[in-house]
C-alpha cells in the first residue's frame, strides 16, 4: 500500500489535534482537582475533618389497617430492642457472649451481628434482638456497665391484635429480601430491621402503607457521633387502609369454624359486594412471621393438614355439589325447559344410555316439582332437566353468576375455579363432551369447581335482584373511597330468581328441607339457603351395596360439606357461604355454621353503619345487641 505525502500530512495534523484534545482534557481535570483541593480545600476539610455531614434516613411510620368500625387490625407497637455500636466495644464477640449469659440470644443472631459488624460502618448501631420483655430490659440495664457498646432503645414493630383471625386478609410484613432490593430502590429498604408487606393487604397496598422516608442531614464528629442536625425533611407516614371487614364478626367466624379440621366461610353484602368476614381455618399467627419463627413453629404450620397458609376462602376450589342446583334451575327456567309446576318422577335411579345415575335418596322422592327438588335436593329432577338444557346453557348461567372466573378481590391467591362446557373440554383435555358429564355437572360434580368466595357471590347475585356484584374488601385508602355500591343488571328474570329463592326458603324452613335443623327461629331474622355435599371420590358400587357410611372412611376420602345462604329471608341483605372440607354432609356440618354466622351478622348488622374512614377511639367495635328494630331497614335497596 502506498501512502502519499498528502495523506500522511492530513493524518498527522488530525492526530495532533486529537492529542491536543487529550491534553486539554487532562488539563481540565487537573484544574478541577486543584480547585476542589486548594481553592475549596479548606471548606471541604471542615466538612470532613471536624464535622462530617451524614445523611440519616428517617423511616416513615407504617399506615394502620383498621376494620369497618375503625378497630385496628394492624398497628405499630413499640418494642424494646437491644443494639450494639461496634466502635464503643473493645471486643464485640465477648460483649455478645456476656449478653447471652444475661438474656436469650440465639447463636444465629450472634453470627448475623458479627457479619454486619464487619460490613457496616463502626458507628452504626446494629440490632441484636428485639421484642425484649420488661424483665429482660431490666436485666440488661443493670448489667450495662459490663457490656460496652450495648444499649437498649425503643422501636416500632408491626403487630396484629386479631392474630390468626385476620391473618389471611391482612397478611404480614417481613424483613426485606435481596430480591426486594433489586426490584425496589427505595432507600428506606436498606435500613436495618425495616420490614415490608409480603402477603395479603399488607402486600397489596404496601406502597401507600409504607409512606415516604424522610432524611435528616446531621453533622457527625470524627468518631461518627451525631453533633447536631442541619436539615430535616420529615418522613410522610403511610396511609391508613380501612377494610370492609367487621373484626369481631371475623373472629367469631374463625371460632365457629374451629370445631372442624379444615373449613372456610365468607359473609358478604348481597347488594354492595362488601365483605364482612372471610375466614379460613386453620390460620397462623402473623406476629410470628414479623419477628421470625422457630423451626418448631414453622413445622407446626407446614404439617397441619388444613393448610394454614392457604386462604381457602379464595383459593380452595371444591365441587359445589348441590349448591350448584340453583344455577341449573335458572338455566332450565331461562331455556323454558321447566316452569314452576313441571313435575318429574324420582325413583332413586335415572337411566341414561348405558349408565345409571343415582339420587342421594335410595328409594326416590316420588313426584317432584322445582320447589321440592330444591327443598329435598332431589338429583333426578336436575339430571333430567340438564339433558334437555345442555351443558353450554348451564355453563353460561354459571358464569353470569360469577363462577369460573377470578372476581378481582384485592388479594393475591384468588383462584378461578372451573365451569366445564364443550369448548372447555376440547381446549383443556382435547376430548369430546359426553352427555353423562352434563348430568353430573348439573349437580355440581364432575369437573365443576368453585371457591367459597365465588359461591357467596353466586348467592348474592341471585338474591339481590340479579345485579352483577363483585366482592371488595378495601373500603378506604385514607379518605379515598375504593369500594363500589352500584352494579349492572345481569338480565336474569326476577320471576325466575323468585322461584329459586322460594326453593331456598323451603330448604331451611320447609317441613322436609335438608337444612331444617338449622333454621333461625326469630321473626324477621330467618335465613334461606341450600346445602351441598360433594364427593371427593366416586361412590363405588361395592360401597353402595354394602351401605358403607361416609363417616367410616378416612378423613381425606370423606365428602366435602357446603352451604350457601342469605338473610333476612324476606329482605335479603347478607349472604354467606361455608365449606367444611371432608365434613361428610352439608346439612350436618356446613348449615349449622352458616346459621350461627348469619345470626351473628344480623345481630351486629354491619351494613347499617355507614363505612367511614375513621379510627375508633375506643378501639372496640360498637355493640348493637339487642337490636332496636328488625335489621332490614330503610337502607335495604333490594326489593323482590
Amino acid at each position: 500500500m502506498h501512502h502519499d505525502e498528502y495523506s500522511e500530512k492530513i493524518f498527522t495534523r488530525r492526530a495532533f489535534f486529537i492529542g491536543a484534545l487529550q491534553v486539554i482534557g487532562l488539563g481540565i481535570l487537573g484544574a478541577r482537582l486543584a480547585w476542589l483541593q486548594i481553592a475549596q480545600g479548606k471548606r471541604y476539610k471542615t466538612l470532613s475533618d471536624k464535622n462530617r455531614i451524614n445523611i440519616k434516613i428517617l423511616p416513615p411510620p407504617r399506615g394502620q389497617i383498621v376494620d369497618r368500625f375503625g378497630v385496628p387490625l394492624a398497628v405499630n407497637a413499640q418494642t424494646y430492642r437491644v443494639l450494639i455500636i461496634s466502635e464503643q466495644s473493645d471486643d464485640v464477640k465477648s460483649s455478645l457472649k456476656l449478653l447471652q449469659n444475661i438474656i436469650d440470644v440465639e447463636d444465629k443472631d450472634i453470627k448475623r451481628v458479627m457479619e454486619e459488624v464487619s460490613k457496616a460502618a463502626k458507628f452504626i448501631p446494629i440490632k441484636i434482638r428485639e421484642g425484649l420483655s420488661w424483665d429482660e430490659v431490666a436485666k440488661v440495664e443493670v448489667n450495662l456497665p459490663d457490656l460496652p457498646g450495648i444499649f437498649i432503645d425503643v422501636g416500632d414493630i408491626r403487630s396484629y391484635p386479631y392474630r390468626d383471625a385476620t391473618a389471611h386478609i391482612v397478611g404480614y410484613v417481613r424483613s426485606v429480601s435481596k430480591e426486594d432490593l433489586e426490584k425496589d430502590n427505595d432507600p428506606v429498604l436498606r435500613l436495618p430491621g425495616f420490614r415490608i408487606g409480603k402477603t395479603g393487604i399488607e402486600k397489596f397496598y404496601d406502597s401507600p402503607l409504607r409512606g415516604k422516608a424522610g432524611a435528616a442531614e446531621v453533622e457527625v464528629n470524627v468518631i461518627g457521633r451525631e453533633v447536631r442536625e442541619l436539615k430535616r425533611k420529615n418522613a410522610v407516614s403511610g396511609k391508613r387502609v380501612t377494610l370492609t371487614i367487621d373484626g369481631e364478626l371475623q373472629r367469631y367466624a374463625m371460632e365457629v369454624l374451629s370445631v372442624h379440621k379444615s373449613a372456610s366461610a365468607v359473609v358478604m353484602d348481597a347488594h354492595s359486594g362488601a365483605i364482612y368476614a372471610m375466614a379460613s381455618y386453620p390460620a397462623f399467627d402473623p406476629n410470628i412471621f414479623v419477628r421470625g419463627f422457630s423451626s418448631d413453629e414453622w413445622k407446626e404450620i407446614t404439617d397441619n393438614l388444613g393448610r394454614p397458609q392457604t386462604n381457602k376462602a379464595i383459593s380452595g376450589q371444591y365441587p359445589p355439589g348441590s349448591t350448584f342446583k340453583m344455577v341449573t334451575a335458572l338455566a332450565g327456567l331461562k331455556a323454558g325447559v321447566i316452569s314452576k309446576n313441571t313435575s318429574v318422577f324420582c325413583s332413586g335411579k335415572y337411566e341414561f344410555g348405558n349408565s345409571t345415575f343415582h339420587c342421594w335418596k335410595k328409594y326416590g322422592h316420588g313426584d317432584v316439582d322445582l320447589n321440592k327438588a330444591l327443598e329435598q335436593s332431589c338429583d333426578i329432577y336436575f339430571y333430567k332437566m340438564a339433558t334437555e338444557v345442555g351443558i353450554d346453557a348451564i355453563a353460561d348461567m354459571a358464569r353470569r353468576l360469577g363462577l369460573g372466573q377470578k372476581l378481582g378481590l384485592e388479594l393475591a391467591q384468588e383462584r378461578a375455579g372451573i365451569i366445564p362446557d364443550v369448548a372447555w373440554k376440547k381446549r383443556v383435555l382435547g376430548q369430546k363432551w359426553y352427555q353423562g358429564e352434563t348430568i353430573i355437572s348439573s349437580i355440581g360434580q364432575g369437573n365443576v369447581l368453585a371457591t367459597p368466595l365465588q359461591l357467596a357471590v353466586m348467592t348474592a347475585r341471585m338474591v339481590n335482584g340479579g345485579f352483577a356484584v363483585n366482592p371488595w374488601i378495601t373500603g378506604y385508602l385514607e379518605d379515598q373511597f375504593l369500594g363500589r355500591e352500584q352494579w349492572d343488571s345481569l338480565g336474569i328474570s326476577k320471576a325466575h330468581l323468585k322461584l329459586v329463592m322460594q326453593g331456598m326458603e323451603s330448604v331451611v324452613n320447609g317441613k322436609r328441607g335438608t337444612a331444617r335443623a338449622s333454621s333461625i327461629d326469630r321473626e324477621g331474622f330467618e335465613m334461606a339457603g341450600k346445602t351441598g355435599t360433594s364427593q371427593v371420590q366416586r361412590i363405588t358400587m361395592d360401597q353402595r351395596r354394602q351401605g358403607i357410611k361416609n363417616e367410616d372412611l378416612p378423613w381425606k376420602q370423606r365428602h366435602h360439606a357446603l352451604f350457601v345462604g342469605y338473610a333476612p329471608m324476606k329482605k335479603p341483605r347478607y349472604v354467606c357461604s361455608v365449606v367444611v372440607e371432608h365434613g361428610i354432609g352439608g346439612s350436618r356440618a356446613a348449615a349449622p355454621i352458616a346459621k350461627l354466622l348469619l345470626e351473628q351478622t344480623q345481630m351486629r348488622d354491619p351494613a347499617r353503619t355507614q363505612l367511614q374512614p375513621e379510627v375508633s377511639k375506643s378501639a372496640t367495635s360498637p355493640v348493637f345487641w339487642p337490636p332496636k328494630k328488625p335489621i332490614y331497614g330503610e337502607d335495604n335497596q333490594g326489593d323482590l
Partner: protein, 375 residues
C-alpha cells in the same frame, strides 16, 4: 492454532521482546499499582477483599497483552471482521438471555468473571474502522458514500447497547467511532453539523431516556433534589476529594471513604479515594501517568508505516482517554453520574481486560510498524 502459525516474520522471540514498548509497560504497571494500593485501602487494609484478585487479573492480563503484542499486526488486520462479529454475537446474546443486574442486561457469566461484551465491542469497533480506512485516501474519506460502512459499524453495536439500556457506553462508542472517522480525513463540516445536530436532538432524545437516566441528569443539574440518591454520591465524593487537600490524608487514612460515606468506592469512585488519601500530588501524579500514556499512543501512531496501525494505535488511545475523562469528570462533579469505571484502577475484570487488550494491540502496532499489511 499454534504460536508458530502467527510467527511468519523474520524476528526472533528475543528481538521482539526487546522491541516491546517497555516504557508503556512501566506506565501501565504504575497505573495498575495505584489501583491495587487504593483497593487495599478501600477494604480498610484488607488485601484479600479486592486487591489480591485485582492483582491476579492484572498479572494474567499482562501475559495476554504480551502475547497480543507479539502477534504480527497483519494477523490482527485479517482477524478484524471475525472479532467484530463475535463481539456482536455476544452483544445479541446478552440482550436475549443475559444476566440481569441493576435492571439492565449487560453481562455474560463466565464463572470466574462477569464478561461485559460492550466493553470488548469498543475495541472491536476501533479495529473495524481502522481496517475500513486502511486502504482509503483522504479523497475517498471525504466522500460520504465511503462513510456508510463506518456508520453501520458504529450504529449496530450502539443500537444493541442502547437496548440494554446503557447510554454511557453507547455515547462512548459513538465518540470513539467519530474520532476514527475524523482521523481518517472526513470533512470538518461533517463534525460541525453532527455537533449542531446533536445539540438540537437532545430535547428529542430526552423523551426516549429511561426514568433512571433522566433522574441522573436531573440530579446532576440539581444535586439537592435527591439527597439520598446520586446527588448524595456526588456531594460526598466532592467532600472527600476536597478534604484531601494538597498533600492528602495519607495512605489508609481517608476518613470519608472508610466511614462508608462513599458508595462503590472500589469501582466507580476509586479515584476519589486515591486523591483523598494522596491529595493533589497523588492526583497530578496519576494524571501525568495518563498524559504519558496518551503521548505514547500518539507517538506509536505517528511512527507507524501503515494506515491500519496508525488508526488502531490512536483509536485505542482515544478510547482509553474517554474512559479516563468520563470517570474522573464524573467523580469530581463535572458531568452526570454515568457509571463508568476508571480503567486499570477500578475493581472489575472486563474493563481491565479491555484496556490491556487495547494496549497489546497498540504495542503490536509499535513492534510491527514496518509490517506489510495487505488486504
Amino acid at each position: 492454532m499454534s504460536y508458530s502459525m502467527f510467527v511468519q516474520d523474520d524476528m526472533s522471540f528475543g528481538q521482539k521482546l526487546a522491541k516491546l514498548n517497555w516504557w508503556l509497560v512501566i506506565l501501565i504497571c504504575s497505573v495498575a499499582a495505584v489501583g491495587i494500593a487504593s483497593l487495599y485501602s478501600a477494604a480498610g487494609g484488607d488485601f484479600d477483599r479486592w486487591a489480591s484478585r485485582q492483582m491476579m487479573r492484572f498479572g494474567i492480563g499482562m501475559i495476554g497483552l504480551v502475547i497480543i503484542a507479539m502477534i504480527d499486526i497483519k494477523w490482527w488486520y485479517r482477524l478484524t471482521w471475525p472479532i467484530y462479529f463475535i463481539g456482536m454475537i455476544m452483544l445479541v446474546f446478552v440482550e436475549v438471555k443475559g444476566h440481569v443486574g441493576m435492571g439492565a442486561q449487560r453481562w455474560i457469566n463466565l464463572g470466574f468473571m462477569q464478561l461485559q461484551p460492550s466493553e470488548l465491542m469498543k475495541i472491536a469497533v476501533v479495529m473495524a474502522l481502522a481496517r475500513h480506512f486502511h486502504g482509503a485516501s483522504p479523497e475517498q474519506a471525504r466522500r460520504l458514500s465511503f462513510l456508510i460502512v463506518p456508520a453501520l459499524v458504529i450504529a449496530a453495536p450502539v443500537a444493541l447497547v442502547l437496548m440494554q439500556p446503557d447510554l454511557g457506553t453507547a455515547l462512548m462508542i459513538i465518540m470513539a467511532g467519530a474520532a476514527m472517522v475524523f482521523m481518517a480525513g472526513a470533512p470538518i463540516w461533517l463534525f460541525v453539523s453532527a455537533i449542531v445536530g446533536a445539540a438540537v436532538s437532545v430535547p428529542i432524545a430526552w423523551q426516549f431516556l429511561h426514568e433512571y437516566q433522566k433522574k441522573r441528569v436531573m440530579t446532576f443539574l440539581d444535586p439537592e433534589s435527591d439527597p439520598l440518591g446520586a446527588g448524595y454520591h456526588i456531594t460526598q465524593s466532592k467532600i472527600a476529594i476536597g478534604s484531601g487537600g494538597v498533600e492528602g490524608k495519607g495512605f489508609l487514612q481517608g476518613t470519608q471513604s472508610h466511614l462508608n460515606f462513599l458508595p462503590e468506592k472500589q469501582t466507580d469512585f476509586i479515584f476519589t479515594l486515591w486523591v483523598e488519601e494522596w491529595g493533589l500530588l497523588g492526583g497530578v501524579f496519576l494524571l501525568t501517568l495518563f498524559l504519558f500514556i496518551f503521548i505514547t499512543g500518539l507517538r506509536t501512531s505517528l511512527r507507524c508505516k501503515h494506515n491500519f496501525g496508525r488508526y488502531l494505535a490512536l483509536g485505542v488511545s482515544v478510547n482509553f482517554s474517554l474512559y479516563v475523562f468520563i470517570n474522573i469528570a464524573m467523580v469530581m462533579g463535572l458531568i452526570p453520574v454515568v457509571g463508568a469505571p476508571l480503567p486499570l484502577v477500578s475493581y472489575g475484570g472486563t474493563s481491565m481486560l479491555a484496556a490491556l487488550i487495547g494496549f497489546g494491540l497498540m504495542m503490536s502496532c509499535g513492534i510491527y510498524r514496518h509490517s506489510k499489511v495487505t488486504r
